[in-house]
């Protein structure tokens, strides 16, 4: 109960809490039985609730089953390939498995007296929508110390549905050449590494040489690929990649991107025409807001639903397109929980460590879950509003890291909204401790003496670039002397012509030998001493 805030009113008088449902407690669907559950101000009885959720599921999925829309209002459903389900062990994906199985894979064709399918096996009535279904699960225990491997637990869940084939993956497959060969065919994709540079952050407490080294790094700023520095196992490479990321938010995003791209490539390589995820309305709203907060607004439509295909070396997409659908996008987390309870669906859930998400995603989740409790309709508003958003211009390609559409001229836009010149008087005062020889390098308004080299920055979307270079209070991970500071990248980054893009090989950036780097830094130190004298 809350006070109405009117100073003239009796202090003890409290505003009665408004009801979370309409005037009647009877089911709005059958109007016969008393309701058992309130879903966004509507009351449903237990018998009407399950069909209502099933209907929402089919309405969200079936318009995208057929390759072509056609003119019929109720077309016969026939997909062009098989079905792939992304399974995490969570609430939504457990419901996804159950509904897909019950709706599309468990019905038996009517039999005649001899026990054969009525109308013959080739009768259209007996044809299934998808010929087969695979269930992909990505094990992430390699990314978290001490986390239990749940692959076999997940397998036992999937085995309850005999029509489904289980395809287990591991998060470190993203750094495993043998997995890449399996999904993309024999190739010579190299393992690429990345020199991450700080974006304007100069750490304190460093020696003068390191201080100037960082400035030099900033001047050459960008994300540059190098040739293979050392050989690491896929697990080591994955952990190195994650530990190099600047923030907890970046680590959460990176894991989501790795998981999604692994499943995309696996589904596509196995001839799937549709890939389904079990994101509920609540988790979808969380991911939409979280994505926008991290600069992923350009690909907001893809977060909801997309048609995806790998990009070939020529830059074109393959003809076989994978439709990524989230058929539970109109079903709230509360509906999912009740559906599971009333239909006795077993949910493994996620590991405690995995559930403890950090960063922006965690803050967004707390916010949206709180919204759902007090103002349930607003959660739907988030998703509905995002559905209406559309980028102004056509994408300039596909981001190499997250495989989503990439906005054109990102760096130019960043240049317009960022401070790139230190010629401003106030900034010059603040940075007076930096030797003038070095300050001139920082000023991008003067022509740089360093040749402009192609950078991976030009092939990343804004969200991925932000993920790799966002500021961190921890500072950039410093490697030990003699150890490379480069970080390995997922194997698919190097696919499709890094050489053609001049990011590697002839015309590409080479790894500067340590002696040359030390010479360059020493030159600045000498200039520094000259200035002081």
């Amino acid at each position: 109960m809350s006070s109405c805030g009117n100073p003239a009113a009796d202090e003890q008088a409290l505003m009665p809490r408004r009801l979370k449902f309409g005037n009647s407690k009877d089911c709005v669907r059958c109007r016969l039985k008393p309701g058992n559950i309130v879903i966004r101000h509507a009351v449903y009885c237990q018998e009407c609730f399950t069909p209502m959720v099933d209907m929402k599921f089919r309405k969200a999925l079936e318009p995208s089953v057929n390759a072509r829309a056609g003119t019929s209002k109720r077309p016969k459903l026939k997909a062009s390939g098989n079905l792939c389900l992304g399974f995490s062990g969570g609430l939504g994906s457990s419901i996804l498995l159950d509904i897909v199985h019950n709706t599309y894979f468990s019905s038996q064709p009517p039999l005649d007296d001899s026990g054969r399918p009525r109308g013959g096996t080739n009768h259209p009535r007996n044809a299934s929508v998808w010929p087969s279904c695979i269930v992909c699960y990505v094990e992430v225990c390699g990314a978290f110390a001490g986390m239990q491997d749940r692959t076999e637990d997940i397998r036992s869940v999937v085995e309850r549905y005999p029509s489904f084939d289980f395809v287990p993956l591991r998060i470190e497959d993203a750094f495993d050449g043998s997995w890449w060969t399996k999904v993309s065919g024999p190739n010579t994709t190299p393992q690429v590494w990345l020199e991450l540079s700080k974006d304007g952050l100069i750490t304190d407490g460093r020696t003068a040489a390191m201080h100037l080294f960082n400035i030099l790094n900033l001047a050459l700023s960008g994300l540059h690929v190098t040739s293979d520095v050392t050989s690491l196992t896929p697990v080591e490479a994955m952990r190195s990649y994650l530990s190099s990321l600047p923030t907890q938010t970046a680590i959460s995003s990176a894991l989501q991107n790795l998981t999604r791209v692994l499943i995309l490539h696996t589904a596509h390589s196995r001839g799937s025409s549709h890939l389904l995820f079990g994101s509920s309305l609540t988790s979808l709203s969380i991911s939409l807001l979280s994505s926008i907060s991290q600069g992923g607004g350009y690909a907001i439509r893809e977060e909801l639903q997309e048609e995806w295909a790998p990009v070939t070396a020529s830059g074109s997409k393959l003809s076989s397109v994978l439709r990524v659908v989230r058929p539970l996008r109109d079903v709230t987390a509360k509906e999912c929980a009740v559906y599971v309870w009333w239909n006795n669906i077993s949910v493994i859930g996620r590991d405690k460590q995995r559930r403890a998400i950090l960063g922006i995603a965690a803050l967004t989740k707390n916010f949206v879950v709180g919204l759902e409790k007090d103002y349930p309709s607003t959660v739907s508003t988030i998703a509905r509003t995002c559905e209406k958003l559309e980028p102004k211009d056509a994408p300039s390609g596909q981001c190499r890291l997250c495989k989503r559409p990439m906005q054109s001229a990102i760096q130019e836009w960043k240049g317009r909204i960022s401070i790139r010149s230190y010629s401003d008087d106030k900034l010059a005062t603040d940075l007076a401790y930096i030797p003038s020889a070095c300050r001139s390098i920082l000023d991008s308004s003067t022509p740089s003496q360093v040749p402009l080299l192609p950078s991976l920055t030009d092939f990343l979307c804004y969200s991925c670039h932000t993920m790799l270079t966002s500021r961190s209070s921890r500072g950039v991970k410093q490697s030990a002397p003699g150890v490379s500071s480069a970080t390995p990248l997922p194997i698919w980054v190097a696919d499709c012509g890094l050489h053609e893009d001049e990011l590697m090989g002839i015309g590409g950036r080479r790894k500067i030998p340590e002696e040359e780097m030390l010479h360059t830094v020493a030159k600045f130190l000498t200039d520094d001493q000259t200035c002081e004298e």
């Binding site: 979370k20 449902f21 407690k25 309701g35 058992n36 559950i37 309130v38 009351v43 237990q46 995490s88 969570g90 609430l91 939504g92 994906s93 995820f277 079990g278 994101s279 509920s280 609540t282 988790s283 979808l284 539970l328 987390a333 509360k334 999912c336 929980a337 009740v338 599971v340 309870w341 949910v347 859930g349 996620r350 405690k352 559930r355 989740k365 879950v369 709180g370 759902e372 409790k373 007090d374």
Partner: protein, 130 residues
């Protein structure tokens, strides 16, 4: 037992991990409880026979045992760890669904629902994710 009621509890959706990994439990609570939801003198298990009936009268105003009191009771006597994952701002944490005899607690008055003997209260966490 005079002056106490038995409540059947079910924890699901991962919530059972906070209650010693036991999904099905039951509690004995007094029929009348302190209005301020104080649980100091309440019994905490189904096997306990201690009656706190006399103690309640001596501590001030009382009310019929309701769901709000039960939530405090569970936090103080049954919860094994992480109370902040179960209760927030004096009520059940957002993201936890409560069913009273298979009915949404929003239809039964939420925390003000007066408990009856052998009621089944189900707590389901919706925070599993997708």
């Amino acid at each position: 037992m005079a002056g106490t009621i038995t409540i059947k509890l079910v924890f699901s959706g991962g919530l059972e991990l906070l209650f010693g990994n036991e999904q099905n439990q039951s509690v004995l609570i007094p029929s009348f409880v302190p209005s301020d939801n104080s649980t100091h003198s309440s019994s905490s298990s189904s096997s306990s026979t201690t009656s706190s009936h006399n103690d309640i009268h001596s501590t001030g105003e009382t009310k019929a045992a309701d769901l709000e009191y039960l939530i405090y009771h569970l936090r103080d006597h049954l919860l094994k760890e992480r109370p902040e994952l179960f209760m927030e701002n004096g009520t059940i944490r957002p993201g936890i669904l409560v069913l009273i005899n298979n009915t949404d607690w929003e239809l039964e008055g939420e925390g003000s629902y007066q408990l009856c003997n052998n009621d089944e209260i189900v707590f389901i966490s919706t925070l599993h994710g997708g």
